[in-house]
Amino acid sequence: MAIVVQRRDYSLLGAESKRAEEKGLASGEWHQTPIPRKTMKELMKRKDGPAIRDTLIWFIGLIVLGTLAYMSWGTWWAVPAFFLYGIFYATPGDSRWHECGHGTAFKTQWMNDVVYHFACFVILRSATPWRWSHSRHHTDTIIVGRDPEIITARPPVWKILWMQIIHLYGGPIEIKRFILHTFGKLEDQEKEYIPASEHYKVFREARIYMLIFLAVIAACMFTGSILPAMFIILPTFYGFLLVLTFGVTQHLGLYEDVLDHRLNTRTFYTNPIFRFLYWNMNYHTEHHMFPMVPFHALPKLHEEMKHDCPAARPSLGAALKEVIGALRKQKNDPSYVVVKPLPETAIPYRFGPNESNQLRSEA
């Protein structure tokens, strides 16, 4: 007999949102590893240098790979050349969107803003709506009915994950939203987390995006080729692979509805190239617990708090294996989650507002 699994309502407008509020999970108080104020102040210090260096590498890399891709157009070499260009376009687009959105990447605020807007277009995320959705994601991380950035429900919707390999799920949703915003409208769900005072910004940004879209379409028609779109807009789709790969490691397969980032957020170690592309967001538990700490200080923050955290997954491969294994199990048992043991030195997990469970592990 087939198992019928009841799916929860992940929308921000349904019964789960109310339920989260009643349970004290909305805008809750989260576990924080105690770190001396002096150390924390050092870790929070802002710098321009690392982000300027990385932004220059990003832009120079795009020019070099873009030139190679252009020269290879019309040959089979175009396939790997554009693939690399796409990866180098979309992956830093996603991580720079994220860090500059927090305003921590650069010390100089206008630099954060310029790179934020550039990266938002690159990754096709409207600047203002995503600033607010991400703020809600930090308030209510993986709280069902409250967090607008949950990648997939439990049990997982595999179709979404497959489609996202080339951004075919999220991309069209964003484009549909741009169109709505261009005409001065918002989705009902967006009204939940974007205050009315910010709506005019949403509409203005969407109109600018639309002008760029139209210019690229016109360039394609004028040249009789999709080549212009291969450099702008389309790389967000064909270069999405690493964005998805990194994205699924962040929270999938872990707890929903808890007030402890050690239970719902994953940290893994990885090589310097991936850390450059992902801007150290592999230290994701650290980032969620202390969003004030800039990307360049996350490895140090990790050292400061690892006595209070489950062991980091040793590699991206190990993290992915864990995610895919958990998603497979959740197909039949949506309550399945991965919980790693805490070290002896750790404060016990905090499962809810009044549930500081003395158990150190369940795995």
């Binding site: 805008s27 108080e29 102040k41 929070m44 802002r46 927090h102 305003g103 921590t104 010390k107 605020q109 600033r131 607010w132 703020s135 930090h138 308030t139 205050p195 005072s197 910010e198 202390f290 969003p291 004030m292």
Partner: protein
């Protein structure tokens, strides 16, 4: 009538730093900016429930620890979203090596 309340020794707050000060059921954030001058505002961020004393003072701005919203310390004005509502500010004086706020 607002009264002056003693907060701490003046050198208990570093330059570009903030401390928490609770009086009755009210909570305040007391700052020293990069110029060395003292200021006070309500303790909690107007966007969420987070105490600003956990945040970072940069020049004369305070960044909230939860969502990186920012306020101008002397005026309390919200200067970076998601903080949109200004903070209430309070007069501060330093006398005999002690910091006082008027609440």
């Amino acid at each position: 009538m607002a009264e002056w309340v003693e907060v701490c020794d003046e050198d208990e707050i570093d330059v570009e730093d903030v401390i928490r000060f609770d009086e009755g059921d009210r909570s305040f954030a007391v700052y020293r900016t990069d110029k060395g001058d003292y200021h006070a505002t309500d303790g909690f961020c107007t966007h969420g429930k987070f105490h600003l004393s956990e945040g970072l003072v940069m020049g004369k701005q305070i960044e909230c620890p939860k969502h990186n919203g920012r306020f101008d310390i002397p005026s309390g004005a919200a200067v970076r979203v998601p903080a949109c509502i200004d903070l209430q500010t309070y007069p501060v004086k330093v006398e005999g090596g002690m910091v006082y706020i008027q609440i």
